[in-house]
């Protein structure tokens, strides 16, 4: 695993915008092709193996939590526990998820967390870096079969959907990033043979019996790029309990997107080479540790204590509690802290996207850097 410096394609903004990637510049550089990462085939195999292993262990953990009814530590609203169990027992299929891994090419990749509910940075991983590869390293390969796998997964999921095969896609439209990711997912669903409509989360209507779109059409399958924990606490959340709408990601993903899954995994699989020690209680680590809110996104309210110093990202999370995880410093390449986002589509590893930041805490603005291998 090496970082290589490159001269960007002269007309890269036009090229990426033609792919629907309009948020390539967020508070400065976001899509960054001034560099790339080069892997060996063996390294990619290792990442793929570790990702598949972590997915299997996470399913094991969800199984145990549900079988034991061990929900208290997840701080999930009690009314939603039956919804989790029903979605699990009915085998409601998951579309995707993204593990964040710390790895420098040697030893074992370590799981920092699992973005199992609303993972983003998908368009850039699936499409933009694929087209970059065709332009810059046309003879090389890339760990990225996201596009094909997403289309195939929609086809599989469609078998469980109503006969009209209509899926409503919703996000917070004022977020250009969320909207870009949603548009791309809708594109793959259409290529998977589904009918699609899009609307803003705030435009979802409730008529007393069903959710409705702005044309009063019933919403029977909803893909939402919007966290379950927010849905559960908002005014219409209670209406989800009647299960008149099939939601993607399914409700059982509330368990895997919650940081409580990290200490549960460590309890079940202590000393697993792809996991980091994690606990529900403070004080387990004498020196270096990371404190993470149960619910948190983009590094908000995450604090790192290392070498007697504490670095904390601001935010509005933490009300539901925290977990403590052993600190495993992100590798640095050319002074950049590098995290590997390793994707799952369905149940299978599907590719990676690499983010860099000047800070050891990966944030919303962390730069996306493409990769290749030969």
């Amino acid at each position: 695993m090496k970082r290589e410096q490159l001269v960007p394609r002269i007309d890269w903004p036009r090229k990426v915008e033609e792919l629907g990637f309009h948020f390539h510049t967020i508070d400065g550089v976001y899509w960054d092709e001034r560099a790339c990462y080069r892997f060996t085939s063996a390294e990619v195999d290792k990442l793929e193996l570790a990702t598949g292993e972590l997915q299997s262990r996470c399913i094991d953990a969800a199984t145990q939590v549900i079988e034991k009814g061990d929900y208290e530590r997840f701080r999930i609203p009690e009314a939603f526990i039956p919804l989790i169990e029903q979605s699990w027992n009915d085998d409601e299929k998951s579309l995707f998820g993204r593990f964040d891994l710390s790895w420098d090419g040697s030893g074992e990749p370590r799981m920092l967390e699992y973005n199992a509910d609303t993972p983003t940075a998908l368009l850039e991983a699936s499409v933009v870096q694929w087209y970059w590869l065709q332009d810059v390293f046309p003879g090389h390969d890339q760990f990225n079969s996201l596009h094909e796998r997403l289309i195939d997964r929609w086809k599989e999921m469609a078998a469980d959907f109503p006969a009209d095969r209509l899926v409503h896609f919703a996000c917070v439209a004022e977020s250009a990033e969320d909207q870009g990711n949603l548009d791309y997912l809708r594109d793959t669903a259409m290529q998977g043979g589904l009918e699609t409509k899009a609307l803003d989360m705030a435009d979802i209507g409730w008529d007393g019996r069903r959710f409705r779109d702005l044309e009063d059409q019933a919403i029977t399958v909803l893909f939402k790029l919007y966290p379950w924990e927010w849905l559960a606490r908002e005014d219409f959340g209670q209406h989800l309990l009647a299960r008149t709408v099939r939601v993607v990601e399914p409700a059982w993903k509330m368990l895997l997107s919650n940081k409580a899954i990290l200490p549960v995994l460590w309890e079940m699989f202590p000393d697993h080479p792809n996991l980091l020690p994690a606990y529900f209680e403070p004080g387990k680590f004498a020196t270096d540790f990371v404190k993470k809110p149960l619910y948190s996104r983009e590094g908000a309210n995450v604090s790192i204590t290392s070498g007697g110093r504490t670095l904390e990202e601001p935010g509005e999370y933490g009300e539901e509690g925290f977990i403590w995880q052993g600190y495993h410093a992100l590798p640095q390449f050319g002074g950049n802290h590098t995290v590997i986002g390793s994707w799952i589509v369905g149940e299978e590893p599907a590719g990676i996207g690499i983010r860099e930041d000047d800070s050891p805490i990966t944030r919303n603005s962390s730069r996306f850097v493409p990769h290749h291998f030969a």
Partner: protein, 119 residues
């Protein structure tokens, strides 16, 4: 010797976004949303008439501004009339007809958390 199976997609084609289609959580008649009036003016040629305080309930109490209505052109990522030569300063866009439904359904029961939901 067996040939190594490639790990990249063999083809990536888009039918909705990019050159071929449109983007958005709704229809394509939209207005850009700005965190400040200054950002809006910078995007729209410093014409005060083009930048108005947001009136929609999702934006109004946050001090946001709307640019003028336009038809989205996803192939270029730009809009008719917006200043060229730099990326947009908008923080997103809003479908201008998003609240035009005449249905009896109540709305606004989702979305109040309104932080970026990505991770």
């Amino acid at each position: 010797m067996l040939k190594k199976i490639r790990k990249s997609s063999s083809r990536v084609t888009l039918v909705l976004i990019g050159l071929a289609g449109l983007a958005g959580c709704g229809n394509d008649d939209r207005r850009d949303v700005y965190a400040s009036r200054e950002d809006c003016l910078a995007d729209w040629g410093n014409k005060p008439e083009d930048c108005t305080p947001a009136s929609d309930s999702r934006h109004a109490n946050r001090g946001f501004f709307y640019g003028p209505s336009y038809t989205h052109r996803s192939s270029s990522g730009s809009s008719y009339g917006r200043s060229s030569g730099s990326s947009s300063r908008s923080i997103g866009s809003s479908s201008s007809s998003s609240s035009s439904s005449s249905s009896s359904s109540s709305r606004g029961g989702f979305g109040s958390s309104a932080r970026s939901s990505s991770s």
